[in-house]
């Protein structure tokens, strides 16, 4: 039993690895877009423009109120129907995770920027820094400490949520596992492997987040 279990795992490994590759690729791209979008969101939200803030609020609430799964269906099934635009399921997942993540990271960045003393902005302006220079040299570097730990936690949520992509037909790691189980009925073994996979990817991240949070608590 034990040896057949290991044998099975070895035989299924390439298929699991393919799925894991998809999961990691979707997550990594989602995280990339979430980070870039989130920083942009945070900067726009602190410019003090009323219209911009209303727009961002609508965007945020849309992603808070509507489950990610529904967004996946909307983009995957809705775009072809309403706009005749069909995107491969992989990129649908990246897009939705990126947009959802950007709203979450964006709120963190906004909060971190707003927590800086107002005088930092004014001191920067008074030596003649322009808008983007102010953010690049003065505000964002100082917000970094406050925003990094919660942002890493959002990354782990993006990785876990990427498994929803299975529902629009992406063969990511869970789907790959299910295919193996359908063939072999070794559900305990395979789900154990999946558990280990997510744990190994997410645990170091959340541990890093906790360490950074403690180290920077007084900064």
């Amino acid at each position: 039993m034990a040896s057949s279990g290991i044998e099975l795992l070895l035989v299924s490994l390439p298929q699991l690895a393919m799925g894991a590759g998809q999961t990691l690729a979707i997550s990594a791209l989602g995280i990339l877009f979430a980070t870039l979008g989130g920083v942009l969101y945070g900067v726009l939200a602190t410019l003090g423009s009323r219209w911009l803030n209303i727009l961002l609020q609508v965007y945020l609430e849309l992603f808070r109120a509507i489950p990610v799964l529904v967004w996946l269906y909307l983009v995957f099934f809705g775009l072809p129907i309403f706009f005749g635009l069909s995107i491969p399921s992989f990129w649908c997942a990246v897009l939705v995770l990126g947009l959802w993540g950007a709203s979450e990271v964006g709120e963190v960045v906004r909060g971190a920027l707003q927590s800086l003393p107002r005088g930092q902005r004014e001191a920067g302006l008074s030596i003649g820094l322009g808008g983007w220079q102010l953010y690049a040299y003065v505000l964002l570097p100082q917000a970094l400490k406050r925003m990094t730990p919660p942002t890493i936690n959002i990354y782990t949520r993006i990785i876990k949520t990427s498994s929803l992509a299975v529902l629009i037909g992406v063969v990511e790691v869970i789907k790959a596992g299910q295919q193996i189980i359908e063939r072999t009925y070794e559900s305990v073994l395979i789900y154990g492997a999946l558990f280990l996979f997510f744990f190994l990817v997410c645990y170091p991240l959340s541990a890093a987040s906790r360490v950074l949070e403690r180290r920077w608590a007084h900064a």
Binding site: P117, G119, Q120, E122, A123, G124, L125, S126, I127, G128, L129, G130, Q133, Y137, V138, P141, Q142
Partner: protein
């Protein structure tokens, strides 16, 4: 000679609340003007309007003949000519002292690093802080941080410096080192607009005192005249509050045994 700074019929509102009312003030190049007045009278707002941190609603404000109140004003340009130092220093905490000083000269003015650095170091030496070149703001005392903040503004080679209660957050023993730096600038002939609650300093450094109340300039006077014979009753009352503290009579000591009996 045309004034370097000229407010005319200048108005500023926060919502419905008018905080500067029809202000007329002209400052000549090289002049040191100290603005006094009770809390909330609009001193900070006046300075902040001059480098565009607040937007004005009416009247005229000229710098070296150029009108600043208008949609075409390039405030980034103006701010390089008008340095401002704040009550709480606001050094950039993630940068060393020298990086704080060089940020403006390198990124805004696009100057050569070695030239800007030489100037920054010379100014640091002048305020006695060259050894703190590579320190971070959190490692410095309040007085040291404030002197660095002054140097940060000076590194932009401004025509005017604005000081908004720059010693108000400092422990008494550090006030002197900062005031000496400002006095040095005054001696050199730099144009200064100073808001302060240090009356003795105001009297010593000012060419002219401007007394404000409730958004208006009530009185402008030579410092000696202002402090000995203020022209308005309000200024008189204001000065009395300060002289009251200075001439407070010593509290008579109570007999020690009283508590025991």
């Amino acid at each position: 000679m045309n004034p370097l700074i000229e407010f005319q019929g200048f108005n500023k509102f926060f919502g419905q609340h008018q905080v500067l009312k029809d202000v007329d003030l002209a400052v000549q190049a090289g002049e040191v003007v100290v603005i006094l007045g009770p809390s909330g009278c609009g001193k900070s707002t006046l300075l902040r309007c001059l480098n565009g941190l607040e937007e004005a609603q009416g009247g005229s404000l000229r710098l070296d003949g150029q009108e600043l109140l208008g949609p075409d004003t390039d405030w980034r340009q103006v701010r390089q000519r008008v340095g401002m130092v704040f009550q709480s220093y606001h050094l950039f905490g993630h940068m060393s002292v020298i990086d704080n000083l060089l940020l403006g000269p390198l990124k805004v003015q696009k100057r050569e690093r070695h030239e800007a650095q030489a100037q920054a170091e010379a100014l640091l030496a002048r305020v006695g802080l060259l050894d703190k070149r590579d320190a971070f703001p959190r490692q410095l005392s309040g007085g040291q941080q404030q002197r660095i903040a002054i140097v940060r503004s000076l590194c932009m080679n401004p025509q005017v410096m604005l000081f908004d209660e720059v010693t108000a957050a400092l422990d008494p023993e550090m006030v002197k080192e900062v005031l000496q730096v400002i006095q040095g600038l005054a001696r050199e002939g730099m144009t200064l607009l100073i808001v302060t609650h240090e009356m003795a300093f105001a009297r010593a450094v000012a060419d002219r005192i401007v007394f404000m109340e409730a958004g208006r300039i009530l009185e402008q006077n030579h410092p000696e005249r202002f402090f000995t014979q203020p022209q308005t009753a309000r200024a008189q009352q204001f000065l009395e509050k300060f002289s009251f503290v200075e001439s407070l009579p010593k509290t008579l000591s109570k007999p020690l045994h009283k508590e025991l009996s």
